[in-house]
């Protein structure tokens, strides 16, 4: 149970990042490789403001806002201009990775490459639950994961804009032909993804501290979770994250403490071989064709 709970907590973080990838992808068919760095931005900004004396709550909000703003900017500056040049279908891969490098190096330049402090928040407080001991922060993480998925599904299915998002995912050209400003929705999707990554960052901050290089780690893990869960459905992505978290924790305990470095890759390779579309994608077993809508 200890394993499950702490695994779920880590998994929720991965899941949030994976959901962020998935939401941006859902609307634009683009994988924003700077997603992990948006997590880092939230952490760094929150930590910096907190060190400067701002109240923790305000610092957190500022960190989240920063992640949202950068998310939108990434779409406008690095994705949209590149999508216009149709010929090269993977240009966004290069541009978003470029942005990731810029953000990482930029953060290291501004705040230095070493870890700085992050407000402890709820990290120190242990909670006894079902025979296991986890920190309140971890409980918060799991709660955040659940809330994110629930809120997203509710939004997607019940509100007009959620349905519009689904329409854009299904047929972007037709969506614009019924009056949807697909560019605006794309920016919103990237901003929302930034928010999710930011929330994940604020939740892990107390454990990882404010280090410019955490973006890569969480980005990769979030991406692996995305591949496991399924790229087509944000809810599936969260499920993938949770699964990854628990399995990694299991590997850590049963094998050795380094196992969580490489174990995720074993899982993802197995998943890709058996069911390339992801475990929770709802797609059929046979091959997946990932075509960009025109």
């Amino acid at each position: 149970m200890q394993i499950v709970l702490s695994g779920l907590a880590t998994g929720a973080i991965y899941g949030l990042v994976a959901m962020a990838f998935a939401i941006a992808f859902y609307v634009t068919r683009v994988i924003n490789f700077a997603q992990g760095q948006l997590l880092m931005v939230a952490v760094m900004v929150t930590a910096a403001l907190s060190r400067a004396g701002w109240p923790t709550g305000v610092a957190i909000v500022a960190g989240l806002v920063a992640a949202v703003v950068f998310g939108a900017l990434i779409y406008l500056l690095a994705v949209r201009p590149v999508l216009a040049f149709d010929r090269f279908s993977f240009a966004w891969l290069v541009s978003t990775l470029g942005v990731a490098t810029i953000l990482e190096a930029g953060a290291a330049l501004i705040w230095g490459p070493t870890s700085r402090g992050f407000p402890t928040m709820l990290n120190g407080r242990p909670v006894h639950l079902l025979g296991a001991v986890i920190s309140l922060q971890q409980v918060l993480a799991i709660a955040a994961g659940v809330v994110a998925v629930a809120a997203f599904e509710l939004f997607r299915r019940r509100t007009l804009f959620g349905k519009l998002g689904m329409a854009i995912a299904a047929d972007p050209e037709m969506a614009s032909a019924i009056g949807a400003n697909t560019q605006a929705v794309a920016v919103a999707a990237f901003a929302l993804a930034g928010l999710l990554a930011g929330v994940a960052g604020v939740l892990v901050g107390p454990i990882t501290f404010a280090n410019p290089y955490i973006g890569s780690t969480f980005g990769i893990n979030g991406f692996v979770a995305l591949m496991i869960g399924g790229i087509e459905r944000p809810a599936g992505a969260m499920a993938g994250g949770l699964l990854l978290g628990v399995l990694s924790q299991l590997a850590n305990t049963e094998i050795n403490s380094q196992a969580s470095d490489w174990f995720p890759f074993v899982i993802v390779v197995v998943v890709l071989l058996l069911r390339p579309s992801g475990l929770f994608s709802g797609a059929r077993w046979p091959r997946l064709r990932l075509a960009r809508p025109s």
Partner: protein, 247 residues
Amino acid sequence: MTQSSAVSITAPALAVASLSAGYGRFDVVRDVSLDIAAGEAVALLGPNGAGKTTVLRAIMGLVARRSGSVRVGGIETVGMSVHQVARGHAALVPEGRRLFLNQSVEDNLLLGALHLRRDRARVAALLASVYELFPVLRDYRHRMSAALSGGEQQMVAIGRMMMSDPAVMLLDEPSLGLAPLAIEAVGQALLRLREQGRSLLLVEQRVDLALQVCDRLYVLTGGAVVQQSRTADVDPESRALIDAYLG
């Protein structure tokens, strides 16, 4: 910007003047002019590859308009982006219907009224009128649109177009792939729309459907208009029509 559905006395519903449009370096549609008076229904006929679909897409703004003008209800739409044109000026039932298959019937219809979402009363009234025209859709309102037959999907597509309350309605081969009974139903629906005073531009392969519904017809070949007539003047049996339409 919403467009009043009241028929404007002076401005034609659609006035296309010297339109040239295309995808690549060369234009698919060259110097095409056509117009639809308010409340009129016009057919656009021609062989495959003639550019009929491109004309409709150009009116919506889905294809780059290289030159010429497209005035809908008196308002110039060249220069507007697609979603602006779709907000009350023109609405399209595309070839193959292209419903949002991951959504229900009612959701597809409600999405059609996206630009009117703040005016709930109006949306409700429009929805009621769609269900009145196609009663079977009311029964199916919560069914996934992917589960409907071709004919039923076509009704939803027409309904979705009606929901946006446009100044001009564009239909691209609505009879394509439908069984004869469904084609009947489509014809009836279009006639009802005419009765309501709507303006239609109909691209069709089935000449009889076009003649049944429309006042006038244009024939397009190789991207240019080659003939114009009033449907009343056309004798469907005559070889001249066959040649003109298909050759």
